[in-house]
Point group: C2
Chain length 365, copies 2
């Protein structure tokens, strides 16, 4: 029985074939449809859990499961290690993601979760910003210019007609390289003082690695009365990005309340200060259209549904393009009652095709 | 950055090189040492969680994480789908297991968890039976003759000098094929009535797929006063194998109390009826030597430490034998701040060697 392993070479071939813009558009479209159709009876998403540690360095390794009943389950394992770029020249977020058939338990596929996380986190901000930000937003401000900021700008620029990008990062080397990294967006990028960014932007994205207890990452001075903030920074208990005074007079929509209360901006709020979740907002855009004229915050902690949709998309593209390595990982032999049978069996014989996401794909599109 | 993927062909090559008996002996030895040295400050093992479902068929998909602080984490994903053998010609337990470096979050390796589960579940029963069963046990009885029974018999036959194996399965086809599947043990195997098995055996292993609410799987009649029972059956809330009257007059040692109370035999007991966990027993064999003359039950629900040790062993063997596919799964490119960099980067360049378990291996051995 085969497992499709998508290497990063496969993902690259997919992106090169489909195009980054088209891929982000597809991710946004799938996510929007899935949120509108979301039903917690058929899609089960437990609160993520993980290992947290502070020695030898601060870090977090979390598992994020999601299941479509009677269909597939996806589990993303995601590491958040903020010393990675400086100390190991690696991304802060490293991740992989796997899909399982819930009929048999079979491991259907394994793929990178790092690019996937960037892509789907960007798409999430785009989908909710469509509902909560001013449709004619022209200036976007990025606080924190690392990896996540790239896909935030990418996704938002696919659904808004921006004229300018203002950027700020506490590390000048990181803000200094942003324009080149974000050149695909074809937008003028200006490094500015934090105050100017905050007072000028129609939409703000915070995507920082601010340390625990060192937040917020900007001050509550001169914000536009209609500003929409996507608070994205990889989340951690005790880590916050947005000033509490801003949260208190904003419409705050979390992606997943149980997580946001523990690791997101909602940590700072009492339950009555937290607005409806994004599923409610996306399902009922007219009900929340007035919020476009008010301050709003999307508390993005990352929801496993986003990962499930993204992996579906990758596996479907891989199937169409005949990409991916088909490996026999699980020990499955002719006699299901003999765990040692494979030791002597001829494994080179053709195994059945793995189940694909094609059936569900048809339902969603 | 490379991930070592062990296919089942790799695992087969390892087993053929090392030998099944030597491999089981190593697994037992590593597990025994790890339990003796176990310290819950350095090894963190949360209670496993999972998706449970009854439609379209009954099943369970669980994630079992374990972390050695400052070192590696291992997460096993294990499916329990009892209709697999009959309906899909697949094992009831299908599983895969992954290792992560907790310094960077890097995915070190991925391997089969199905054979691994059989191996380590057998080894677990062997290690605790050494402490709790009569050292001169001669007759072992297997209730349930499926895949797990094979490795139970294998492991126990490595540490006891059995003369006979009595077997019983509710499905005559499964008991009928047991002798051939277990031929490696070189022991006479007799299919017997359940009553004879129960009254004659010195050690009993229950490894059944009894349905929820249909247990126990034998009656409390005529058991030897010193019988030791390894209650192994893949666990599920509501599923039990051992009569409550047997549990109540036995020394009951769970592998992981939090799980055993939820899905193991301990479901039926109040806290004061449950004995010390197996770590306590293995660490203090003299303190529990008297139990060898009494009835005892090992409530084996499966503990992620066993998986961590087994995967360590597989990866170490693979390293020594230069087996396994080294794949670039995670998107890691030259610029950790650019999630899209890999799309254009030359990925064929040599990536750094993955971290291995070799350092820890030295400490354990």
């Amino acid at each position: 029985m085969e497992t499709v392993v998508l290497t990063i070479e496969d993902i690259r071939a997919i992106v090169q074939h489909v195009g980054l813009d088209a891929m982000m558009d597809e991710m946004i479209r799938h996510l929007r449809i899935s949120l509108r159709q979301f039903d917690d009876q058929t899609t089960v998403i437990p609160i993520r859990k993980g290992f947290e540690y502070t020695h030898p360095e601060i870090g977090l390794l979390e598992w994020m499961p999601a299941m479509q009943r009677g269909d597939n389950a996806v589990i993303k394992i995601v590491g958040y290690h903020p010393t990675n770029p400086r100390m190991r020249h690696l991304p802060t977020v490293l991740s992989s993601v796997s899909a399982y058939d819930t009929i048999s338990g079979h491991l259907i596929g394994v793929a990178d979760g790092t690019f996937l996380t960037a892509l789907r986190t960007g798409a999430a901000s785009a989908v909710i910003s469509e509902s909560l930000a001013k449709p004619d937003a022209k200036i976007i401000g990025m606080i924190g210019c690392g990896a996540q900021a790239i896909s935030q700008l990418h996704a938002l620029s696919r659904v808004f007609d921006f004229e300018r990008v203002l950027i700020y990062d506490s590390d000048p080397a990181v803000s200094g390289s942003f324009a080149e990294r974000a050149s695909f967006a074809n937008l003028p990028v200006s490094g500015v003082a934090l105050e100017e960014l905050v007072t000028t932007s129609d939409i703000i994205c915070t995507a920082t690695s601010v340390e625990i207890g060192k937040g917020p990452v900007f001050e509550d001075v001169g914000l536009k009365p209609w500003v929409h903030i996507n608070a994205v920074g990889s989340d951690f208990p005790g880590k916050v990005e947005v000033p509490i005074s801003v949260l208190r007079r904003s419409f705050v929509s979390p992606d997943f309340l149980g997580q946001a209360e523990k690791e997101g901006e909602c940590q700072m709020l009492s339950p009555e200060e937290i607005g409806p979740g994004w599923v409610e907002v996306i399902k009922n855009p007219d009900r929340y259209k007035h919020v476009q004229q008010q301050m709003s915050v999307f508390d993005s902690t990352g929801w496993a549904l986003e990962d499930l949709i993204a992996l579906e998309m990758f596996l479907e593209y891989a199937r169409e393009l005949k990409l991916g390595q088909r490996l026999h990982i699980e020990s499955v032999s002719k006699d299901p009652h003999d765990p040692y049978h494979f030791v002597h069996a001829d494994l080179s014989k053709k195994a059945p095709e793995p189940l694909s996401f094609s059936q569900k794909e048809k339902q969603v599109v």
